[in-house]
């Protein structure tokens, strides 16, 4: 705690940026895919939605790969403990990521089983979106460790209410991302439906965010003295309110900049908390 060097601070920030980049960018892909059965009714609509993420999802997933590599490089113990400790959960993440990746291509080339691959895409994306939040929540909330830095909990330790709430918060944010992306990328009936999804998800996000910040402040009282925490709360709700007015006026959702703020706001307190000083 007393020997934190500049490089460690730098890498802490870097990993934060990489994971934030991942959540922001792949958030669209996962969100759109998870909302597929709600947004797309006809096959062509689903094709449009999938085509909107087809060229970019892989580039976006690299943020996660690089974030993982950076964690391995800079904090090998954190990487080793979390990845081996959360073994079954990590396997679920992998299965989810594999299916969401291959199912888009398989669906396009295999019309006979297209609906099956569609389910794999939706399921894989939704599961991954949920599990990332749960994993992050566990890291922030803390897990039982042995003296040798080995994980001492079980699979179900990971599903405690607080980390689960982190997961739901993440899922809700990612779904909203996906719906906003769909509004930007589509037109006509499909866009109407996406607007509707944005409005519903906005309310869900607002409720979840209230819960999330409340739980944060109760669980980690030291955040109450932290300016950053209040800035994060302000940004989150400012973002949601902005979205509320824009969607009421049927304007396309705000572009990257403000969304970046809103989503990163969810991350700030977490990063602040896990930093050891």
């Amino acid at each position: 705690m007393e020997n934190i060097q500049n490089f460690q601070i730098l890498w802490f920030i870097l990993i934060f940026v990489l994971l934030l980049g991942y959540a922001l960018l792949d958030g669209f892909d996962l969100g759109v895919a998870a909302l597929l059965p709600f947004l797309g009714v006809k096959k062509e609509e689903k094709d449009t939605l999938i085509a909107s993420i087809g060229p970019v999802w892989d580039g976006n997933e690299v943020w996660l790969i690089t974030g993982g590599g950076a964690l391995f490089a800079a904090f090998p113990h954190a990487y080793a403990t979390a990845f081996s400790g959360f073994y079954l959960a990590m396997m679920l993440v992998l299965f989810a990521l594999i299916f969401r990746a291959v199912s888009m291509e398989f669906r396009a080339n295999d019309p006979v089983r297209a609906s099956l691959w569609e389910k794999a895409l939706v399921g894989g994306s939704a599961l991954a979106a949920l599990l990332f939040g749960v994993a992050l929540g566990n890291v922030i909330y803390g897990v039982p460790l042995t003296g040798k830095m080995e994980y001492a909990g079980s699979f179900f330790t990971l599903l405690r209410p607080v980390p689960l709430l982190f997961g739901i918060t993440g899922l809700a944010a990612i779904l909203l991302q996906g719906a906003s992306w769909a509004v930007m990328k589509t037109e006509g009936e499909l866009q109407e439906r996406s607007f509707k999804a944005v409005r519903i998800l906005m309310w869900i996000n607002a409720i979840v965010a209230v819960l999330y910040f409340a739980v944060l402040i109760v669980t980690f009282p030291r955040l109450s003295g932290n300016v950053l925490f209040y800035v994060a709360v302000a940004f989150t709700f400012a973002g949601l309110i902005g979205l509320f007015f824009r969607s009421a006026k049927k304007m396309t959702p705000p572009r990257f900049g403000s969304r970046l703020f809103r989503l990163s706001a969810c991350f700030w307190p977490q990063a602040r908390h896990s930093f050891p000083i």
Partner: protein, 380 residues
């Protein structure tokens, strides 16, 4: 087609980055200082380049100008090779570690980055592996184009494709012969136990034999088969009587499973020789203008497609099993590298799941691959 191959590769490749942490956590703790930066470098330098521009390559044909499209293809090529380079750096460091020191806590600390990156086996390993991938693609192009030409499909496009494929198929295995030779000499020098296992050599001899094929009786410490007397020594330094180290130089507990290494190595070498012969035959047919009508040759080309993959796998079995019982050669045993908190049941569960999922992906891949090939170049 490229999309299908890429997506299956990317989806199954991500597992590896996770598995260092999930299954080899003690290894990750010990070598995070060296191994982590190499993987991170692969992500930052190679993956971003590759994955972004493959999007342009697959989806952008009609959206960008031909010049930009060409640059995108070039960047995917560069990105792919950089990615191969960094992952080979990681693996070769496990084979011939360099540029490190071990601190009081038993942790491996990086002292010299360039020595670790360009460790004694990096360059040989990289050339050998990359040439293997080139052979794989050359054979795949030949197989598909050969099928089209034999069936009289897609006219000039198919013939051009076959011509380029055959030229590559003639050249790449020959280049590989040089690269593989240099790699084998390096293994004899840097990992003599592995080299001895590859040839089933139990006694240090001047004038060691080289086997064409055979069988190793590990209990009796004897190797049977067809061999070229003194061949190994000759290939090592062109001296029939040079000395090659044997397995008995180290305690038996430090031996790899000898017969497995021997067999997989010989399958790989045998396939390499077949590629050289068939590639040259194809080039000769092309040279004499008989290629497009040589139906007997074209008929067999599609059936060659799986063989380079088999050579890849047997080559990696030779490399990785041949390194056992070490995870880092001479430094850390595999048994000490595994995650301590992961139970046997969890390993079995994940292994079974991965086997099933990969089997499913494999079956789907083959089905869709054949389907796309039959649709022809215009459709994709």
């Amino acid at each position: 087609m490229l999309g299908l191959i890429f997506v299956v590769g990317a989806a199954t490749g991500i597992v590896m980055e996770f598995s260092f942490g999930t299954n080899w956590s003690e290894y990750s703790r010990a070598v995070g200082d060296i191994f982590g930066p190499i993987l991170a470098a692969e992500g930052i330098i190679a993956f971003f380049l590759e994955s972004v521009f493959i999007g342009v390559l697959i989806f952008g044909r009609k959206k960008v100008s031909p010049g930009v499209y060409w640059v995108a293809a070039l960047l995917v090529f560069v990105g792919g090779h950089l990615s191969a380079f960094w992952i080979i750096v990681a693996n070769s460091w496990m084979q011939t570690p360099a540029g490190y020191e071990i601190n009081a806590a038993g942790k491996v600390i990086l002292t010299d980055f360039s020595a670790a990156v360009f460790n004694p086996s990096t360059v040989n390993w990289f050339l050998h592996t990359v040439l293997a991938t080139w052979i794989t693609s050359a054979v795949m192009v030949c197989g598909i184009a050969g099928y089209y030409v034999r069936k009289g499909l897609h006219g000039e496009t198919a013939r051009t494709m076959l011509k380029i494929g055959i030229i590559l198929f003639a050249i790449t295995p020959l280049l590989q012969l040089g690269a593989a030779h240099s790699h084998a000499i390096q293994v004899i020098n840097t990992q003599p136990v592995k080299a001895a296992a590859m040839e089933g050599l139990f006694n240090t001899t001047r004038g060691a034999d080289i086997y064409v094929m055979g069988y190793v009786d590990e209990a009796k410490e004897k190797t049977y088969g067809i061999y070229i007397p003194k061949g190994l020594s000759f290939l090592y330094n062109f001296d029939f009587n040079s000395e090659i180290k044997d397995l008995n130089d180290v305690p038996k507990e430090n031996w790899p499973p000898v017969n497995l290494v021997f067999q997989s190595y010989h399958i790989m070498v045998g396939l390499g020789m077949i590629f050289i012969a068939l590639g040259l035959l194809g080039a000769w047919l092309l040279w004499t203008g008989k290629l497009y009508t040589a139906k007997w040759y074209l008929f067999w080309l599609p059936f060659l497609i799986p063989l380079p993959h088999l050579a890849h796998e047997t080559g990696w079995i030779t490399a990785e099993v041949g390194r056992q019982p070490w995870i880092i050669y001479g430094l850390m045993k595999t048994v000490n590298a595994a995650s301590v908190v992961v139970s046997a049941g969890e390993i079995v569960f994940s292994l079974v799941m991965f086997s099933l999922i990969y089997l499913l992906l494999f079956v789907m891949f083959v089905l869709l691959f054949v389907k796309i090939v039959k649709q022809g170049p215009a459709a994709s």
